[in-house]
């Protein structure tokens, strides 16, 4: 609890670190903030062409009963994925780059990672906003949009839990960073982002599909699609699982971080 209280007293630092990151990110570029939209847009276009057109992946019917767009279906999943991977990867980079500073001034070593999470969350919010705008245009509107803020908080906690652990172990053992890189790559394809879950369900034996379903990101992506595309509410079981998993991951990650971070500054 004292750790939580300490983070709270340093909330202004987290705010400032996030602000520093955002302000300095697009200095000296002409397009500036437009890059934060151009990047995901390019990914979306590439994936839509590769998986939607070339591989012929199909999206289910949207919640309004008329729209059927693989690109939009894909976008829902990408918003979640970008947020998650940005949080995990950014946590490691944030702790590394704060090393010199942590050696000169005391502040909780989790602050840079938390600040990073918020900058990525802002990005996710913008992407979500764009998604909402498009959905409004195509007339796919629902109260399920309200699920999105909760989803962001849960994905943020989940990603931070993993990111904190990865970041602190990466300081002691650089291999962790590389392993995480491979792991993230595998996880991306193990999550139904560029394809619908139905395809996996059809091709895997029942037991393998059970394991596949254990991937928490599958649930997160499903929520995003429920919220923006299918316009349905997740089941009570899904709520229970997602909230439990997110909080547990965050709690365990934070505890491991606090234990390991005690002497991490000497190693930075």
């Amino acid at each position: 609890m004292t750790a939580v209280a300490e983070i709270w007293t340093y909330r202004n630092l987290i705010y400032n670190l996030a602000q520093r990151e955002l302000r300095s990110r697009y200095k000296k570029s002409i397009l500036g903030w437009a890059w934060s939209l151009l990047n995901p847009a390019s990914t979306l276009v590439i994936f839509s062409i590769v998986f939607g057109v070339i591989f012929g992946a199909e999206a289910p019917q949207a919640g309004n009963g008329s729209t059927n767009s693989f690109a939009l279906y894909l976008f829902c999943g990408l918003v979640v994925w970008n947020f998650f991977s940005g949080t995990v990867n950014g946590s490691m980079a944030a702790l590394q780059s704060a090393g010199a500073l942590l050696n000169k001034v005391y502040f909780p070593p989790s602050c840079p990672a938390i600040a990073n999470m918020f900058t990525v969350m802002l990005q996710a919010l913008i992407e979500g906003g764009i998604l909402v705008a498009i959905m409004l245009v195509v007339g796919n509107v629902g109260l399920t949009y309200l699920l999105f803020p909760l989803l962001l908080v849960l994905v943020g906690l989940f990603g931070l839990g993993i990111g904190l652990v990865a970041s602190v172990y990466n300081v002691y053992l650089r291999d962790v960073g590389y392993l995480v890189g491979i792991g993230m790559n595998m996880l991306f394809y193990a999550t139904p982002i560029v394809y619908p879950v139905s395809q996996v369900e059809a091709k895997l034996p029942a037991w393998a599909f059970r394991i596949y379903e254990l991937n928490p990101l599958t649930q997160f992506v499903a929520w995003a699609r429920d919220a923006f595309y299918l316009l349905v509410w997740p089941s009570a079981l899904s709520f229970l699982v997602v909230i439990t998993v997110s909080l547990a991951t965050f709690a365990v990650g934070s505890l491991l971080f606090i234990r390991k971070a005690r002497n991490v500054i000497e190693e930075l």
Binding site: N16, R23, K27, A100, L101, L102, K104, R262, I265, E266
Partner: protein, 423 residues
């Protein structure tokens, strides 16, 4: 607050691992399990001290004594391996000025960022923002990126932020030794001001004068142990005594090397005089303290004797001894010379010595070197000379600047008509 000290350090030890190779990898976990990848190193070995509220505390010791490690633990940056540190009040640490400045951001943005790193809320920064800018003297540059700042401006802004965050405890690591004189002066003024306001200050410094004048208490650390702790003046005194002893050995060693080197030079390099005059040669040159013990360490306003030994092979008529005293910078400070009208007559064959006694050494602290010489009766010819034969060190008990102690006295203030005062 009550009786709790601002900082209580209780039996603190700190252990470091010095890695032989920096790279850590999974492979090593399996292959190098048996061979140790690192060496154990105790930077601090059980240190206890208390820094009272509102006091200025100095940490002295040579490099690697653990001062900075202790400071970092007080600031909370490092955690003790053993023991406990309790602090009471907000700490602002100046381990590096401008740490955390982002080069692309403006001075204004960096002030907010840096103050946040030191734990301030946005409103608190709003309140002190103008003071920070004014103290740093960066008025016109606050909105340009700090990467365009000169190093002086950078440091000024860093110091300004650190001292304005209104800390209860300020931790300073040798950082004031930066910036121009004008800025240093302002830094010290500000430190004195903070001290008056009751801010607890802990500082690491190599400037013993600073410890003596600014600090109330001090601790002397050596290889991770406290050798002395107490009133700053006493600690500095003890520290100096030890340092001086070591320094004396060093100076003697240097002299030995130099004399060996000079002995290896050919005789031709030595001064040549008339054959009869060459009959006197200088022997050992000694620097003696009040008790006529040979030493390399002297104190201002204390006695000193320079003893010049000689050897005479045949009677020499009225030789004249002299020596020069040079400061470290090579300034000729003094050149005592025997006058020709001394009725010394001729010196008999054999060995002997001549003393030059100084009752009160009127020199400021520093290193000085003696070159001894003996001349013929007319003083025109150098018969023998020993270049830079002794180097000794002078310490002052009280702060004393400059080479010379003029030994004057200040009178009381007198009222009455005086000269015009320029307006």
């Amino acid at each position: 607050m009550g009786d709790t000290p601002a900082i209580a350090v209780h039996d603190v030890a700190k252990h470091f691992r010095l890695y032989k190779e920096r790279a850590g990898s999974v492979k090593e976990l399996f292959t190098k399990r048996r061979g140790k990848r690192y060496e154990e190193f105790w930077a601090l070995k059980g240190v206890s001290l208390e820094v009272p509220h509102g006091s200025v505390y100095g940490l002295v010791g040579h490099n690697g004594s653990g001062k900075s490690t202790l400071l970092k633990m007080m600031a909370g940056i490092l955690k003790p391996t053993r023991g406990e540190i309790h602090t009471d009040g907000r700490i602002s640490a100046l381990l590096e000025l401008g740490a955390g400045f982002h080069p692309e951001l403006s001075g204004r943005e960096n002030i907010y960022l840096n103050a946040a790193i030191l734990g301030l809320s946005r409103h608190e920064v709003d309140d002190i923002f103008d003071d920070i800018v004014e103290f740093s003297g960066l008025d016109g540059f606050v909105d340009s990126p700090v990467k365009h700042y000169s190093s002086g401006m950078f440091v000024r802004l860093g110091f300004s932020v650190a001292v304005h965050v209104n800390p209860r405890i300020l931790i300073i690591d040798e950082v004031i030794a930066v910036g121009d004189e004008e800025f240093q002066r302002r830094c010290f003024e500000h430190l004195y001001k903070l001290r008056r306001q009751g801010v607890t200050i802990v500082m690491v410094t190599h400037s013993l004068d600073l410890v003596r004048t600014l600090c109330d208490r001090a601790a002397w650390l050596d290889h991770g142990n406290i050798l002395a702790e107490g009133k700053a003046v006493d600690v500095v005194h003890e520290y100096l005594a030890k340092v001086n002893a070591a320094e004396g050995l060093r100076l003697e060693e240097e002299e030995r090397l130099r004399s060996e080197f000079e002995a290896s030079q050919t005789e031709a390099a030595r001064p040549v005089g008339a054959p009869e005059a060459r009959n006197i040669r200088l022997g050992e040159i000694e620097a003696l303290d009040a008790d006529l013990r040979s030493t390399r360490l002297f104190r201002s306003r204390h006695p000193m004797t320079v003893r010049m030994h000689y050897e005479c092979r045949a009677p020499v008529e009225s030789p004249r001894f002299s020596f020069t005293l040079e400061s470290q910078a090579g300034v000729l400070v003094a050149h005592p010379f025997q006058f020709p009208d001394f009725e010394r007559g001729s010196i008999p064959v054999g060995r002997g010595y001549v003393d030059y006694t100084i009752r009160s050494l009127a020199l400021g602290p520093g290193e000085y070197t003696i070159t001894a010489a003996v001349h013929d009766a007319q003083g025109t010819m150098v018969v023998d000379k020993k270049e830079r034969v002794i180097t000794f060190r002078i310490e002052a008990d009280e702060p004393l600047l400059g080479l010379v102690d003029l030994g004057g006295e200040w009178g009381g203030l007198q009222s009455g008509p005086g000269g015009d005062v320029d307006r």
